[in-house]
Amino acid sequence: MLEDPARQQTQRRRTQQPFIDCDIHNYMASDEVMLRYLDPRWHHHHKTYGHRSHSVLAFHGAPYPRLAGVGKRKDAAPPSGLTAGADFDFFRSHHLDAHPIEYGILNCLSRAGDQLYDEYDAALARAVNDWQLEVWLKPEDRLRGSIVIPYENGDLSAEEIDRVGSEPRNVQILLKPRTREPLGRRRYWPIYEAAVRNKLPVAVHFGGYSLNPISSSGWPSFYIEDHTNMAQVFQSHLISWICEGVFERFPELRIVIVEGGFAWLPSLMWRMDKHIKRLADEVPHVTRRPSDLVREHIRFTSQPMEEPPNAKFLEQIIEHFESDEILMFATDYPHWDYDNPELALARLPPQMKRKIFIENARKFYGLPARLD
């Protein structure tokens, strides 16, 4: 017997573990929208010269075509004809209303951050942040925002963080990991100072364009390599934050790794613990065990979770963190590699699942409980 879909949805919401979705994506519908929010000083520049970053192709940002529906779930394309993630009403009904979502954290993947011209980059960031607050955060109380910044320029980034950091709907600062230098280096410290000043965590989300090849042996051929290797990009930043002493320098700094995987973390913590002990005299400013610093300062969103063939292995990995507060659930709606909240982590013990789905993010972002 076929069930009424609306009733199915209601039943599902009653039985499903409520969650905070720590990674969802909104998009500007068109360049016309950007121009409405872009300071008039930049209109001519934006229309005439526009994006210039380390990617060579003019009309397709990614050097590796995302052979997965242009990187998006086909069913997330709204009837309005806009690109997935750009239609606010459809986004709300297709995702926010379809699941017991306590809060959803928007990570807007714009071209801000990877421009070669710092002032233009900062103008793009301001436009995105203003648009996001007006069009997404104010009309929908479940949504929280991430502040987009021109992260290759520390001073301009700090200015933007100070400009919009006191807006309570903004809950974190957003960077992409394909940076010019490892994120522990001094050029990024003004970002961390501003983050601590504004009591906001720094989120680093999959993506961006860099002059550095994504492997230490040059550029790979395929998108599947680019996507898989992004985990090593995050691993490199972790090494850099620890070895540069960033957490000793900024004891209140908190970082969240978004869409970087997490099963590799125990391996990296063990490797850092071993070698930084042996070579401690090179980095005397690292005063604590690296794995302890990771557990204290860094969180990971779950999607795209590594899927071992044996569910036991996943529990082992989480146990190897030696902390049950590291993971925070995310779907990555509306992207192709979305993790379904009804299926993901289904076999974990209920208490652990509850921490990952809702409690860890409430605590990390200081969000009051609304659903139970």
Partner: protein
Amino acid sequence: MTDLQFGGRFATAIDCDVHCAVPNVKALYPYLSEYWLDFMADGGHPSLEANYYPARSPLAARPEARIAGKPAGSDRELLAKHTLDATGASRAILNCLYATQVLYNNYWAAAMTTALNDWIAAEWLGKENRFSASIVVTLEDPAEAVKEIERRAADPRFVQVLIPARSKMPLGRNHYWPIYEAAARHKLPVCLHAGGGVGNPPMPVGWPSFYVEEYLAVAQGFQAQLVSLLTEGVFTKFPDLKVVFAESGFTWLPALMWRLDKNWKGLRREIPWIDRLPSQIIRDHLLLTIQPLDEPSELRRLAETIEQLESDQLLLFSSDYPHWQYDEEGPLPLQLPPEVEENVLRANARRIYRFHA
């Protein structure tokens, strides 16, 4: 420091990653032509010692391996005493990291590399029967690499082809396939050893400040090379090829296999020649040496990671001598089930390597 004692546990083991060192570049001169002798003299006899390990850093050499005035690993008898006599290992595979492989002048690189192999054959293999060695080849000139493989393949004391883990392009690209073709034809595994680097930053986010970061990042470099070898179809094209990762670490492998398997399910039409789960292909072709062994707070967790590999045929025993990777706990600090330990210490190496009598 007194030598470590292992109570017979490693008797007859095969140490798959030991580093013999060239004492001085002039040691290679007997194997160079007049032209290259003149070149070296005019160039001021440049040392080709690699910068992979700052010589005075603790990692570069165990205290008992240091020799006054000469690089650690350059004394044959001392090396044999530490890697074979002290542990009871029956055989050591010499991976000479002298950086002839990464010179920008391919002609010079080829001449120095041939001389290096001649020197290894005469000064090490010719004088100690318990040594086997890797054929050093010039990575960025595959035609010269193939010539060198052909030159050594008939000598059973050479058991694999050695290339540095960092290359100009990812190693799966077909530029490098002649090396794999020649190696597979002679049933020689190809060993990627930590090192190399010919321009690309050591991290996918650029150049780090500290040596320790660069050393930690070696594991990320290996992961990307594995992804490249797999996705470009090297293992499909050369079904008999074995690849050994040396000094790569291995605890990162389960997470990478799971990530690759998941991505293959979503993106496989980009690489249609990969027609089964990447993790299955990896387990059929890849082996990794155990040192340096990452250090969890409890060894039980390491045992679980080894279980997550889902094969006891992937790991090869190694000391990584003279690099200072372990102390009293020894090169294999955890007890493995007997049949697993037998595979790691001996059987896996015998399965992939030809060893002379």
